[in-house]
Amino acid sequence: MANNKYDFIKELLAKKDLSPEKRERILDLASKEFSIEGTLEERIRKLEEKVNGSPNPIDLLLGEAKRVSIESFLTEQKFKSNGKEDVMAGVANEVSNNNEVKGELSKPISHKKKHHDPSKVNKWLKYFTINNTAIKFSTHVWDDDLYNTYQDFIELLNDERIKYDFHSLQYYNPDLYWDKIYPFLFQNKSTSLEITGKKVFGWGRYKIPIGWQYPSTVRDFCLINFDNKKRKSNAPQTMNLPAELIPQHVSGRTIKTFEDVIDLFKPEIEFRDNQLWVGIKTALHEVLPGHNINNSLLNKLKGCSFYTNTEYVLKAIKRIFRMIKSRSVSKDLQINCTHDSIRNKYILEILHLDSYCEKHINHDKLISNDKGDLSILKTTLLSLCDFAIESRFKNENGDNIYARIDYLYENVDSNQWKPQVTTIDYNPNGFKYILEFLI
């Protein structure tokens, strides 16, 4: 039973048998209803937060307001697609029996608007370093005269969310938006999933239970200690966390203040100093013990700093390691990271030496969008980096050929997510995974 007009609209929109005409009519009426309340920005926010539980005004206006879990989405897609290619559909088989994949992918996702464009994600993330943005100062120490009140800062932050269209990040890397940036920066109340107990508020790999706007702890602290006092010693970063908000599972660190929380957010969105090296070395220990690795090449990963969804990149790398483990023909490995100064990229190459594919170049597992580990890698790395493999395959005549298959590349979305196959005139010396990250 609907409690208010928002719930009522939500219930109507959730009806599966709703025809497009009826849906359009409902939205038309809803937009008239909302039009009398406040500014455009306020109306958008209301549409976002009331109807969907999380912001998604564009979807709403397009009749795609229902946010679905990957499982239900995939079931729906499978039913609808009739063999039509879709990058997300590839995980369907895996989701049902792989807990880690569930962890990776059971996120709210708007399925009709996904894009691969690492440059856009890179641009969004670089707002965390661009001078004088409130986004930047959400992770940097404040100068003394920067903000008079907490509200001054939050208003700028919310303005920048709209100005820089942060909301659209969900269509490029949903996890980065919904599980990191939105709850840390922008969320100011419980979502409907949280209210109903289907999800517990928390962001990042440690599920940190506090952000800048939710719960109201930081605001409450500032009202008493910071607002109009212009004393950096009382800035929100200095706030001691209440006991119930201290994350319990962060090993090796003491989390005491809001600044400690901010310090946990930074490595969610950026590999800095030697963090990429640490992450990969840890994954090697966990997944590929007993394999031989060229350490001097591995050490080139030290100092490779770039913005990305670090959790998802490391998840993808772990998956690659599990793929290597399953091909026991060789235990030799090379991992290298080179800087392409012309394209301003880091090229990360993981080479399983002397391990060749030997499959037909058009084999389903290589080319299909809905089968196997490679399709999952595509989903995990969406808009984080370009992704390709190189190895030896078989052609139509059964002859050996060396080839490269690009899975995530510029304009792959407008090319129906089709992998691009190119023959190469060199031996890659095994099975090579190539991830290209914009700096």
Binding site: V141, D143, D144, S251, E270, W277, E286, K302
Partner: protein
């Protein structure tokens, strides 16, 4: 002869976060330290990011806000330092580790809070007089070698006892960074510590 120092800080407000008003005045009054302000500071950053290093070659120590430079400019700046035998300190609010290398030239990367301390002015004075053996003196003080040896020993103990793989690797990394600056002493840390204590 006095060593010349260039300090490029595009957010002077940051100095006020860490230094007292008097310390800021004292810093800006050091005649051997060039601290370009406002448009001049922007000019310097544009020069470096355009790989124009002509004016920078006269300085013996360059201290620059890392985030104001493009990554390829930092590399090029490093090459200039190698050529002119200058030393480089990169600072940023986002750096979580102290990293130091002395292979081609001395380069120190530190958090802004490590740069702007009450040690800074003393360090700059000593440096300008040519009495600084290592940039690490800025971080660890005059007894930097002893400080690093003690830290190495402490981290090694923690590392040996750590069961979490990721933390263990982080500690090993921290250790390897520290050891770069005490390559000769690292073989027998306990002996070296004792030697220094006895010499005090």
């Amino acid at each position: 002869m006095t060593n010349k120092i260039l300090l490029i800080e595009d957010r002077p407000g940051r100095q006020a976060q860490f230094l007292s008003d008097q310390e800021i005045i004292n810093l800006h009054n050091l005649e051997f330290v060039e601290i370009p302000l406002k448009d001049k500071c922007i000019e310097w950053i544009v020069y470096i990011n355009s790989h124009e290093f002509e004016n920078i070659e006269e300085y013996d120590l360059i201290i620059v806000h890392k985030s104001s430079l493009k990554s390829d400019s930092i590399k090029s700046l490093g090459l200039v330092c190698k050529k002119t035998n200058a030393k480089l300190i990169l600072f940023s609010g986002g750096l979580s580790q102290v990293t130091y290398q002395s292979k081609d030239f001395q380069c120190l990367s530190i958090n802004s809070s490590v740069l702007y301390t009450d040690k800074l002015i003393g360090f700059l004075k000593t440096y300008s007089n040519g009495k600084t053996a290592s940039l690490l003196e800025l971080v660890y003080g005059e007894k930097w070698k002893l400080e690093i040896l003690l830290r190495c020993r402490q981290i090694q103990t923690r590392c040996d006892a750590e069961s979490n793989i990721e933390l263990k690797i982080k500690l090993e990394d921290e250790l390897s960074i520290l050891k770069q600056s005490i390559e000769n002493e690292v073989q027998n840390i306990d002996n070296e510590i004792n030697k220094i204590f006895l010499s005090l």
